[in-house]
Amino acid sequence: MELRESRQPWKDGMAKSITFIVTKDCQLACKYCYLVGKNAKERMPWEVAKQAIDYILDHEDEFREESVVWDFIGGEPFLEIDLIDKICDYLKQEMFRRNHHWFNSYRFSFSTNGINYDSEKVQRFIQKNLNHLSIGITIDGTQRKHDLNRIWKTKEMEQGIQPKPEEEKGSYKDVVRNIPLWLSQFPHGGTKVTISSADIPYIKESVLHLYSLGIHEVNINVVFEDVWKEGDDKLFEEQLMQLADAIIDGGYYQDYACSFFSEHIGKPLDAKLDNQNWCGAGKMLSIDAAGNFYPCTRFAGYSLRSKKPIIIGNVHEGIDQNKLRPFLTLDRTTQSPQECIDCEVASGCAWCQGENYDAAEMPTIYQRATAICKMHKARVHANNYYWNKLFRKLELEGEREEFEKNKREVKPEIC
C-alpha cells in the first residue's frame, strides 16, 4: 500500500517572516500603491543577499521561531527571478549544511502582479521549488475595477508626468491570462484585493468575478491611508450588502471565502484581555538592497511619504535590539485613542504600523491612524447583515450544523 499525506496549507503566523526587497521596480504604477519611492535603480546585489542570509543563519539563537517564511517583495519580485533563484538555492544549501532547524520548516513566499508568471524562468523556478512555494497573484476583480488602478507604468511617469485617463493602459488582460496556470499549480491560491475610494462601486462584481475565475479565497482590504471621501462609507456599506446577498443567494459561502465577512469582527474589545498588537512589525525582518534591516517593509524609505525610515540594523552590524523594543512591547490600547478603546465594534478594525508611523504627528509608532474608522463601521453593519441572513437561511434549511463543521474563513491578511 502506498503511503501518502494530504497537501496542507502552510500554517504561517507562527513563522518568522524574512523579506528581501529584491527590487524597487515594477512594470505597473498602481494608483493606490503605498510605495512612493519605487525606482528602477535599487536592485539587491547578490553580495548583500548573501551577507543577509549568512548573518541570519549565523545567529540561529536570535531567530528561534520554529518555521520561516522567506518572502520576496518589490516592486515586482519576479523581475529579479535570477537573483531570487540564486538566493533560494543558497538558502536551501546553507540551511541544510548548517543543520539549521529551519530546513525542516520553510517556505518561499511571493506576492506578484502576475505579469511574467508564465515566463520560462519563473516557471522553471516554480517547478524546482514547488513544495515550498506560496505565491499570490494580485488581481483586483473585473477588468474595469482592475484597470482603474493597476495600470502600466510609462516612461513619462518615471519623470513625474502622469498620463491622461484615456492614455492609461490597464493590466487586467496581462494578468488574467496567467490565472489558470497559477491555479493549476496552486489550487488553493488566494488573491489580495485593495479597495480605495474610486473602487467602491465595483466591489460586488469584482469578488464574484474572482470566484468565477476559480479563486476561492479573496482577501480584500480597504487602504489604510486617509483617502476616504464624504459618503464613501455609505457606498461601501451598500456594496457589501449587495455582495452579502449575492454570496448567500448564490450559495458561494460553501466553497468560497471573502475576508470582508468574518464572524469575529464588530465586537467590543477588553482593554486588558484583548490588548495585543494587530501588526507583526518587529517580529518580521525586512532587508533592502543596501543591506539595511527594517522591522517591516513599510518602514523602508520607499514606503514612507513623510517620515524617515526606521532602520534597525544592517547586514554588517546585525540587529540593534534596542530599536526593536518599541515594536515588541507595543499593545493595542497604548497606541489607540480613547475613542478606539471605548469603541463598541472594535474587533477586526485593523491598522498598519507603518501607516500609523507615516501619518503620526511626530515620529512614533504609538499613534494609531484612524482614517478607516467609518469604513470599518460600515463593514461591521454589512457583516452583521451577512451573518444574520446566512444563519437564518441555514437554520431554515437545517444546514447550520453542517456549515459550522466545514466553514472556511480567510484569515485576515492586511499587508
Binding site: 541544510f96 530546513f103 520553510y106 514547488l130
Partner: protein, 90 residues
C-alpha cells in the same frame, strides 16, 4: 477517489511525521541543485535522504501497528496535518 476517516493520531505523533514530511520535501528539492562534485554536501544529502526515508516509513509502520487502521487493496492512507485525522483513500 473516495476518502474515509479511519483513525486519528496524537498531535505529538502528527508533529513527528510533519517534520519528516517537510524534511523529505526539502531534501528532494535540494537534490535538484546539489551535484556530486560538491562531495561533502552531496554525501551528507544522500545519507540524510536515506535516513529520513527510513524514519518516514517507520512512522507509518509504527502507527499502523499501533492503531490497526482499516486498509484496502490499491488504497493508501493520508494524514490531515490540521486535524491529525488518518484517511483511507481509495
Amino acid at each position: 477517489m473516495t476518502k474515509k476517516h479511519v483513525g486519528q493520531v496524537t498531535p505529538e505523533e502528527r508533529n513527528e511525521i510533519q517534520t519528516l514530511f517537510e524534511r523529505r520535501n526539502g531534501l528532494n528539492e535540494l537534490a535538484k541543485i546539489v551535484t556530486a562534485d560538491n562531495t561533502e554536501l552531496y554525501e551528507k544529502l544522500v545519507k540524510d535522504m536515506g535516513e529520513t526515508g527510513t524514519k518516514f516509513q517507520n512512522w507509518w509502520d509504527r502507527m499502523a501497528q499501533k492503531y490497526q487502521w482499516e486498509s484496502a487493496e490499491g488504497g493508501n492512507w493520508e494524514i490531515n496535518f490540521d486535524t491529525c485525522e488518518i484517511l483511507l483513500v481509495i
